[in-house]
Symmetry: C2
Subunit: 678 residues, 2 copies
């Protein structure tokens, strides 16, 4: 892969080549698509697709009926399935099929947002920060965003979120219709939904039925959703033009060399070390019994996905030519700006800031990042303690995650009745306390404060045994009671959150002033230079906001062998070993003879997608769903840094296998009728 | 640290600066020491120190009495303590004090080698390979080494091992007197021997009583060792000249940029990922009961040390300036050779070979490296299967680890009666099978062969339940029975070792011919160029053979603060938390009032040491032991790649705390008498 990297890395600051790009809906290159593929993507098409596309808390989804029925991935609802489960029975393992709307079960921490409009506020934001020093500008910018969100929500009665594009080159207000009552309609068993498990994750060919269905409710009734996308169960043809509308989570294609080196040297290796160990702890814990296996399944799956992503990101950053190309591109843009007095050297400014970040990183990670306190009840405690403190301040002076705009969603998450497992709390908390002591050292003040005369295991056990925060009623009381209730609480997890709050906030302040602020200032300069040099034919990095891309159904060439773009059901049965993650569940084995073994299963496409696009519909030029994105191939992971059009592929579930499953395995007649497939 | 790196990295090919260097005894810079410190290190001094220095299988040690008494680290005998333990009682935890020689217990897998003489065989080896192609030369070189070892052992009745120095610039035969009956005399409890545990490992200030005592036996009686070093219990003064005689394990200071990039990109991150997970599995397993905690303690300690070392090595290789300096040094040497026709570009040759190594690495690691079969009984099976096959071949045609010279030591290891714990076998084997499937993929032929219809957990369980190789009598029968016994065996672990032998050997062959051979040829060229340009004032990389260095007792400056070179007992008691790894054992608490709290505990020195030097004596100019090396500070880990004289420090146990422990805690009167301390 080395040879093409240099060219590709330049592509990160030049107009997108090939079918690359995560375009905002206001800047979609419809003319290019028209010219290249003859398809006519007009405003009506864009509006309908936009209003049919949903942002879940962690994924993308689509409306597929006028009654709020939602299609997304199984792995996007795995946490909901786990929250609805107990240590005695797991919907992750058994799946769930509602026979009627009464059986649809609420996903307590889920929301569905649909983008209604976008407003450019770049001028207002930059004006608020104009003429200020870096730290003050950073603060003023945040205050402006809070103020604009607040005003927007008041005016529009919609959910308003500010969005930073092009690393600060543009600011927008995105206005969403929010559904906070989202219910589970149907999910297959994890064994078929994530068939192949971690070994096959980010691989293709592939046979994973990674789909599920939700429904949005309003006022206790199924939402009316006239904008929705029909499913074309025949699926796409090889070579066909396809689109993905969704919410790519985050990319770093426009980041500087210094920022990528920080990732390579600190963020990725430290994450991988810590979470590989946690993976081992989870796996061994899961072997202690069936209940343990059930409660650890969802967190383990999520962790394994994170490990696989990051180890391929680390591989990508070890391609020295990528970083060298990045440096060359920076030098080229710097040269174009040579005549511009006052431009200075923003890349050097960023390098200096990441140097400071290197020194702050470990304490920040373990304290403000709560990496030393990995526990659901600690996360509740932190949110309760800080929400109480922040609500006592004017809206614009609060930490951004506690503004009036953010609090309702936080409240939903804190107050939702979801299971908390003390065994798992013990495991994660003792692990994280032990690692905090290892990485910060026994002589760090906070480590001494907590562990000078105690062990991580014992401290974790006494905190978990003592806290009552697993009880949603207590959380409600503390949430409603505010600062007075917090001050009066003797809950040990609340006391812990209070005890480490001041050193944590101090680190955050240093990070914001000494790292975030100079990087924001320098990034804004670079963005302006980039617009000046290359125009707006550049797409912004992903920010978990709505984007549209185009591509085709296609395999690729892997080490001289052509990989075909479709797989079929028959091979899944051949691949089964009889044990998870290669286990085909009993529900499928039972009806095996009735299944059409030639049913297409998964699809490979050239779509430029990353995490957050999970659950996105694959859409044809007529606006019909012809697949359901759930993964990329192994080369797609480096898409975080650049797009390799020769090898980067998205992977979708084929609609035909979804119909086969709904009809013959899950007998989901009402859903089929609602989809018009019966 | 960035600024000094460039200068330092050049030092890797220029004469050693400061008190850097791991010198062979035949090339020790005595004149420099004389000039700088006024000390007279003559041939007699060198001979006595050499004949008093012992190479253990994993460490260094010293004779400290005329009756074979040996001083080394606790962590060097931890595996012996574990081998003498059971799941019901652990000498790692309790320590062991023999009251008389009858109570001295044999360490079944340990040996003690003492270097008697060194013979330069460079001419013979290079002549054997002259004029051949790379792969043939590589093979001829190995055959020559086997032949020379064989002849040497026949002539000298000593243990003869060939040694490659300067990456192939020199070849030597080292002749050792070997003691294969080594017995445990005394070891403190792990809680005090490794006080501070993993958090304090590679840290200073430090309070670890990392010492133990062994005894060499000959013909069932304590060996006569007229050459030995007296202990000076007063210890050294700050600033005093000190020497370390020992066996640094391996360094990569002379390796090329391409080789270091291979380490950075593949070897280190993959190792860290796999073993961080295993660490988590060990820890969680250890929590399932007291027996589990006992049997996992020694392997966990060893693993945690390996993780800490490698994560700091990874940090070192992420200092881009190190690699850039390495590249500049290579360019400088290349320029000096510009007129030399036939020199070619050996650095490019090595880069090409490491490119091939990248493609071979994962299958090699999991199959030939047995990374997919992490189990004591598999290691027995592999050794038994291969020993039987290799013994059927002429000596020079065997794999090098099965030559006549190597077989006695291998036999000792395979036949020793040491405990095998099925629970731990299950854990490590299922882990490694699962990771092999993940990294090689479910479609790799060997993975399919083993796991197409089975799960890693189930396969591991059935192998561990079925094999009888934990029984030393069976291993003896298979060892003695050779190929016929192996062919007749139905032991499932033997069958597994046979099943994967051919693909494993095929990978090894490819590795040797396509990676090792061109690197050996190119490295020899570079070594010759280096000698030509810089003479022999360069020391060779460490190869776990005897070296001598000099330095002084000194702390260093850490982020503006001076670190003093001595610690004292009082602080250990202040630091104790009451829980391992900061637990002071009951034996010490009981006599606390009688202890002199001002007793010096640990010492920091500028000695240039790495792993393998553990257990080395710290020696004064009069040839007396004034400390016992057991660790380095955190900056010492990058000593693998370069020596940073400002910050790299070795750490020793002070002899005064050893005497305090022997007298007041362990009441080891006979040992004290033998040491002349009573």
């Amino acid at each position: 892969m080395r040879k093409i990297l240099l060219a590709l890395s330049f592509a990160t600051v030049l107009p997108a080549l090939a079918d690359e790009g995560m375009w905002t809906f206001d800047n979609f290159p419809a003319a290019t698509v028209k010219e290249k593929y003859g398809a006519n993507i007009d405003g009506a098409w864009l509006d309908r697709v936009r209003r049919s596309t949903i942002r879940l808390s962690n994924c993308t989804a689509s409306f597929v009926s006028p009654d709020g029925l939602i299609l997304t991935n199984h792995h996007c609802v795995e946490s909901c399935l786990a929250e609805l489960s107990s240590k005695d029975a797991s919907y992750v393992q058994t799946g769930y099929v509602s026979r009627n709307r009464k059986e649809e079960m609420r996903c307590a921490t889920q929301v569905a947002d649909v983008l209604q409009s976008m407003e450019d506020i770049t001028g207002k934001v930059t004006q608020a920060a104009a003429g200020l020093g870096e730290a003050a500008a950073n603060e003023a910018r945040k205050q402006a965003l809070t103020r604009l969100e607040q005003a927007c929500e008041k005016d529009s009665k919609q959910k308003c979120e500010s969005v930073t594009l092009y690393q600060g080159g543009q600011y927008f207000l995105y206005k969403y219709k929010r559904y906070d009552d989202v219910r589970l309609v149907l999910a297959p068993e994890a064994d078929i939904a994530s068939f192949g498990g971690d070994p096959d994750n980010f691989q293709f060919p592939r046979w994973s039925l990674d789909f599920s269905m939700l429904r949005a409710y309003e006022n206790g009734k199924p939402a009316k959703t006239p904008d929705h996308l029909p499913i074309s169960f025949a699926g796409p043809a090889a070579g066909q033009l396809v689109f993905v509308s969704g919410h790519p989570g985050s990319t770093a294609r426009l980041e500087t060399r210094a920022e990528l080196e920080f990732e390579r040297d600190l963020a990725l290796p430290i994450w991988l070390l810590r979470y590989s160990e946690l993976r081992g702890r989870y796996i061994e814990f899961g072997k202690t019994g069936e209940a343990a296996a059930r409660i650890v399944e969802a967190p383990l799956n999520s962790l394994e996905n994170g490990i696989k992503v990051r180890r391929k990101l680390q591989d990508a950053l070890h391609e020295d030519s990528l970083l060298e190309g990045k440096g060359a591109a920076e030098a080229a843009l710097r040269a174009k700006m040579a005549g511009d007095t006052g431009f200075g050297d923003p890349w050097a400014d960023i390098a200096k800031a990441t140097g400071i970040e290197r020194g702050l990183y470990l304490p920040y990670l373990f304290l403000e990042g709560a990496g030393g306190f990995n526990s659901a009840t600690f996360r509740y405690a932190r949110a309760l303690v800080r929400a109480a403190a922040e609500r006592g301040k004017p809206n614009t002076e609060r930490l951004r995650e506690y503004t009036d705009s953010a609090l309702p969603r936080l409240g939903q998450q804190v107050l939702a009745a979801v299971p908390v497992y003390p065994e798992l709390e013990n495991l994660t908390l003792s692990f994280s306390l032990e690692r905090m002591r290892e990485w910060l050292g026994p002589d760090h003040p906070v480590v001494r404060q907590l562990l000078a005369k105690d062990s991580p295991d014992h401290l974790a056990a006494s905190l978990v045994a003592g806290t009552q925060l697993a009880d949603p009623a207590l959380r409600k009381q503390l949430w409603d009671g505010g600062a007075a209730a917090i001050a009066a609480s003797s809950d040990p997890m609340i006391r812990l959150a209070i005890a480490i709050d001041e050193p944590s906030r101090a680190l955050r302040k240093r990070f914001e002033d000494e790292v975030e602020a100079p990087i924001a200032a320098a990034s804004e300069k670079i963005a302006a230079a980039r617009f000046k040099a290359y125009g707006t034919n550049v797409y912004p990095d992903a920010t978990f906001t709505l984007r549209l891309n185009y591509g085709t159904v296609a395999g690729w060439n892997e080490a001289g062998k052509e990989v075909a773009p479709f797989t079929r059901l028959a091979t899944a049965f051949e691949r089964a070993t009889g044990s998870s993650p290669f286990l085909i569940p009993a529900s499928w084995q039972k009806v095996r003879d009735s299944l059409d073994m030639q049913t297409p299963f998964c699809i490979s496409t050239t779509s430029d997608i990353v995490g957050g696009n999970s659950g996105s519909a694959l859409i044809d030029a007529q606006g019909r769903i012809v697949g359901l994105m759930f993964d990329g191939n192994i080369h797609s992971i480096s898409g975080n840094y650049w797009f390799d059009s020769a090898k980067n592929r998205g992977i979708a579930v084929h609609p035909a296998i979804i119909r086969e499953a709904l009809q013959k395995v899950y007998h989901a007649d009402s859903v089929l009728r609602e989809l018009g497939a019966r």
